[in-house]
Symmetry: C2
Subunit: 452 residues, 2 copies
């Protein structure tokens, strides 16, 4: 990242910046709980270079463009810590079905018939459009044809960690585990100089990947210093299956294989005993909590409060739109805060401030990019969402963080920046053609389900 | 309700109607699961007088006003089966606190200092504005100064069942149980000819009302043939307290007192054993399920799937905005569908169609007005919400009912009618001055919490 332009030797010389945002409130997330009323944020070359009281902003900065957002709260762009973006094209394809019927009779056959680079590109575009409008500036993606997902993500200007997906069984994308790794690493090479893209190795789950492949993944993760993004302990069934097949629970098997550590993002982590909670925390693993998906597929209730109490780093993900059916991190943040209270039996579990941290800085830590994003601090990338608090739905407003988490809606997101670039203005996507996107979506809807 | 004008003796004479709505889909809710694509709905004198394919509508009706809503789905206006509307002025006043701290240190003191007829009027206006915009056309309210709530509700043109609230202890509103009843019945007399208003007796809870008062309430409910709207089994604590004080659980005490029956709306009903579930179902009681509030206050997980399986009638409520913090029945419908799956451990529990019925026809049954509202059928009142399905967030759309419940947002509500009167057009309130409302809300915010 570039340094801010030096104010120079003249005492009253204004500092030139690209954008200056005058906000009703700035909520930096770090330090925790801080709310800065009537503050302004300055952006230069994609970077946050100033956060000052609005009354001082005009005497400090000269901006190419100013934004007067007196009713808006600025928060760090939200981070979706687990999704299958392209599955947005299967949103609502098969709801209200038992998990195995849903997978075996609907999702897997549809994927088998339709998933291609084109499908992934179009589905990822749709997902990025939805997420950007909802204040989500970064996602951790896991799906087939990650190079197509990366291209779509780049086109929208969203920040993405794409997953080098690994499975043992063949799909339209790859033949076997080595082929998945080979193709994913090729994609990584292709995009390694893109500042908005990072990558992780994404073995699907302990029950779909062999010990032999896991050994390769551990080596690769160490060599490339990259994260491992995997579904773990989503259902009770997979635990029983592992006990039968390996004599140990999946997490114990992963631990034996050397996978537990600060590189691991354990997605779902619904079924955990006390030892496993302590293990995840002590090993510095990260958890991607997906509350809506866990409910919708009846997977169970993740022990989020216990994980946080144990010191584990927990972020929030939407999962794919086929099991949610929204890619709405604001809604997921609210659900995570509410659900944790019910599960813990304590109304003070996961307060609003913690939920907001889960959707921002905690997720950035999990992705290993918390030096770049996850909070509004000088020197970090300008990934920002603004929320219009002037609506009937968020009035009165006694505590703006609380109101954002419990009362506000993603439709109140008015402006979004990624890396200093304006992506959403007054609730509208700037450089995505919504009509073209809807036409593409209609094309795929007809292909997937021609009878409707 | 008036009859539709007779088409007359001339075969091709058009039937004059007030409004004709051409919709992408009509979802009547009754019969269950039916979706009518490209249908039109005709309204005359507040009543639904026709539901026909759009291709036939122009040859059947001549309307004073037509609405072309090709991307919208029409559903019955949503019904909020339990709220304390005026508490919208305490939205977010004290979040993330244990229940008794919340009540004793924040809500009750604030109510003691501030609640008045003026507070209730203004708070109810705010609540009605939020609800109407979110497609909610009817609410079941319980709060102090119900005559002020009734006046506010009438001003907005929303349909309301107001509660004749009863407590033993004195408040700014009334001195003792007899005084509450006296004042409530006076309000009932004042408004008994208003077609949009109905009323129920609303004893706060078993733990705040004595046997002597319950005896009076049973007699009154029979004499006036009106509902009884009460918090029941919200927390485990109140059950333990009842066991100590009365030697029985609250529901058993209420049963002994003769309160269980088709007049009873049991709000929350979180902690129920198998006998109680069977009792509620067999006695024809209704349950107002409040999923967000039950999570936020850590009350527990209501056995909704079991209640429905047992044949109980379950509707959905938001509770007050101080413990939610939204009056968003669409959101609550989604949460109810998701949460029930998690609690039941079955992804097919409370499917989308059931959740939609809970928020419409089931609630109408609970209020005893299912002959008037709760579904889109000829002869019923034209209480209608329309949802714009053309957004990125609800694309693709394989199943419109599923998409409304799991993917759509109350911000997609575009038009709302109550009793045939247009209340929301293109997402904007027609006859509520939002700026004036926000100014009033700011006034109360400052009174309640002058430091912010």
């Amino acid at each position: 990242m570039s340094a801010a332009p030096n104010p120079g030797k003249f005492l009253y010389m204004l500092e030139p910046v690209d954008s200056l945002i005058h906000a009703g409130w700035i909520i930096p997330v770090l330090p925790a709980g801080v709310v800065l009323p009537q503050h302004s944020l300055a952006i230069w070359q994609g970077e946050i270079v100033g956060i000052v009281p609005t009354s001082e902003a005009q005497t400090r900065f000269s901006a190419r463009r100013e934004f007067d957002l007196p009713h808006q709260a600025l928060i760090p762009g939200l981070i979706n810590l687990h999704t299958h973006a392209a599955m947005s094209l299967m949103r609502g394809l098969a709801d209200d079905l038992p998990l195995m019927t849903w997978l075996n009779d609907h999702i897997w056959p549809a994927e088998g018939r339709h998933v291609s680079a084109e499908f992934v590109f179009d589905g990822t575009l749709l997902a990025c459009a939805e997420m950007l409008r909802g204040g989500v500036t970064c996602m951790n993606d896991m799906y087939f044809f990650p190079e197509a997902a990366a291209r779509a993500s780049l086109q929208t200007g969203m920040r993405t960690s794409f997953g080098i997906v690994v499975l043992e069984f063949p799909t339209a994308y790859a033949a076997d585990a080595d082929d998945y790794l080979h193709k994913g690493l090729k994609a990584r090479d292709e995009f390694k100089d893109e500042p908005l893209l990072s990558f992780a190795i994404a073995p699907h789950a302990p029950y779909t990947v062999t010990d032999r492949t896991f050994a390769k993944i551990v080596t690769l993760s160490e060599q490339l210093d990259c994260g491992i993004h995997m579904h773990i302990h989503e259902t009770e069934d997979e635990i029983q299956q592992s006990l039968k097949e390996y004599g140990v629970r999946p997490l114990a098997r992963l631990k034996n294989l050397g996978l537990l550590g600060p590189n691991l993002i354990a997605v779902h982590a619904v079924h955990l005993n006390a030892v496993e909670i302590a293990d995840l925390a002590h090993q510095g693993c990260h958890v991607a909590h997906c509350p809506a998906s866990n409910l919708k597929l009846a997977s169970g209730f993740a022990p989020v409060d216990k994980l946080l109490q144990a010191g584990a780093n927990v972020g929030i993900g939407t999962d794919g739109a086929a099991s949610n059916n929204r890619l709405d991190v604001m809604g997921e943040m609210r659900l995570a805060a509410l659900l944790a209270k019910g599960v813990a039996g304590r109304a003070d579990a996961v307060p609003a401030q913690t939920a907001l941290a889960m959707a921002t800085i905690n997720a950035a830590r999990a992705l290993g990019i918390d030096k770049k994003i996850g909070s509004l601090e000088i020197g970090k990338c300008a990934d920002i969402a603004t929320i219009d608090m002037s609506k009937v739905e968020t009035s009165p407003c006694f505590d703006v963080i609380s109101q954002i988490v419990y009362a506000a809606d993603r439709e109140q997101v008015s402006h979004v920046w990624v890396d200093g670039e304006l992506k959403v203005e007054n609730g509208s996507l700037i450089d995505i053609d919504t009509q073209e996107l809807l036409a593409k979506t209609a094309y795929w809807q007809n292909k997937l389900h021609p009878t409707q």
